[in-house]
Amino acid sequence: MTRKRRRKIRKSHEIVLGVALLSLVATMTGCDDSAHRRRCVDKTGKVVTEEKCVEDEARRHYGGVGPGIFFWYYGGGGYGPGSVVSGGSYTAPRGYGSSGGGRFSTSPGAGASGGSGSSVGGSVSRGGFGGSSGAHGGGGIGG
């Protein structure tokens, strides 16, 4: 097996970083990652599983009566299950997830920038993907 040629691997042109990544950097630089990390809390501010917020959103979205009983909380302190949050906000910080697009929404059409297609109508549920991440300790996929 003869191996001939050399691999000059680089580089015909400069790397130009994209707008989305630079926007993400701008949003996050100077902020602790945790300042943007959300968690689900109950009415007393106690951290509960994210699934409760997802289910609560779905309930309200599909016409469930009464106010929400679980809420997303952003920034501040208190992250572990059962701990009580403080110093943060029930409103997502500006740019939360937006440089990368999505965020949780209780109403279809809220938020995300337009796609190339159009809505076909009919009811839509959310939150059915992502659960396995939590089952493996949450966070990203690493590797």
């Binding site: 691999r7 691997i9 994209g18 809220a110 159009s118």
Partner: protein, 382 residues
Amino acid sequence: MKRMKIQPRENWQTKVEASGLLYHHNPDGVYWNESAYYLFNSQQIDVLYDAANDLHQLAVKAVQHVIDNNLFTQLGVPEEAIPIIRKSWTKKDPTLYGRFDFAYDGVNPPRMLEYNADTPTALLEASVIQWFWLQEVFGAGSDQFNSIHEKLLESWPKIFRRWEEGSKLYLTCVADSMEDLVTTTYLMDTAIEAGIKAELIFIGDIGLGIEPFTRFTTLDDITIENLFKLYPWEWLLADKYGQYLIQTFDKMNWIEPIWKLILSSKGILPVLWELNPGHPNLLEAYFDGPRGMKEFVRKPLLSREGSNVTVYHEGKEGFHTSGTYGEEGYIYQALAPIPCFDGNYPIAGCWVIGGASAGMGIRESQTIVTNNLSQFVPHRFE
């Protein structure tokens, strides 16, 4: 191959952050480590380049073998995935990327530890961050095994021309991992630079519509036709919406394609060994036990981040890593001769983009098992 100590740049944190590496530290300390780098000669880079190309070809043949011989269960592939894997393979659904992890000492042939074929990360640091580091520290005349960015730009249009004209690419990841968000955002930027309309949606925000037809949707209820997911196929299948993957499969294009699930299973390692016994870039590996090997590791079929790996010395359990994997079973692989440099064990992560060898990122650990806390160390060659 040498490990060279070097003074980190002034304000290196700010510099790497500005280029997108917002996770230069992890809970264990520094993740991006520029207090050292690995130096190669060009022959060594050629060896790595060829190994990644050759092994990708062998891996593709191994997928065919698995499909032809119905070995899905042995690889831990969920039963419900089998028909759509077959479809995806028959359609020749294209792949964007993957990363081989090699044990390499610069002298002996690189040995494949595994193929991160479905959800490889450590991409931005390999593609962009270490290149910027090289330019600043060693100047324009220096070289690095790295055409990852260029090959991404080349690959997206080849993939997209198979899809419906004018359709949009959505990219998804979990919302609570900065690394995944950065990686996905970087890939989105490369798609946009390649001329593709693209938008990111967190995986938990993907909607499911049943009427008038089953579909996955954006927050605007736009039907998703093309989806890049930095989220393992086996997790998608296990999630609540997993049952709808089959119904929607014919109307969607996925990156990575679901046939990559075969390659991301560690079960591909014994298959490769069976098909190519004695191959210099492979390690002996078996499904049913160590078969007389005294120095070996037991790995879960489906796992990530070096979790649930047990190392055996002299046939006895040495140490193991914790985790939540292993339910589907294990494989047994000969212990790789990972070199040690100043107490550090480097793994060469060689990228395959669009089916071709594209570059390398090195991660080093203080043990022989690389995990998600292992440090990324840049490299160059001369």
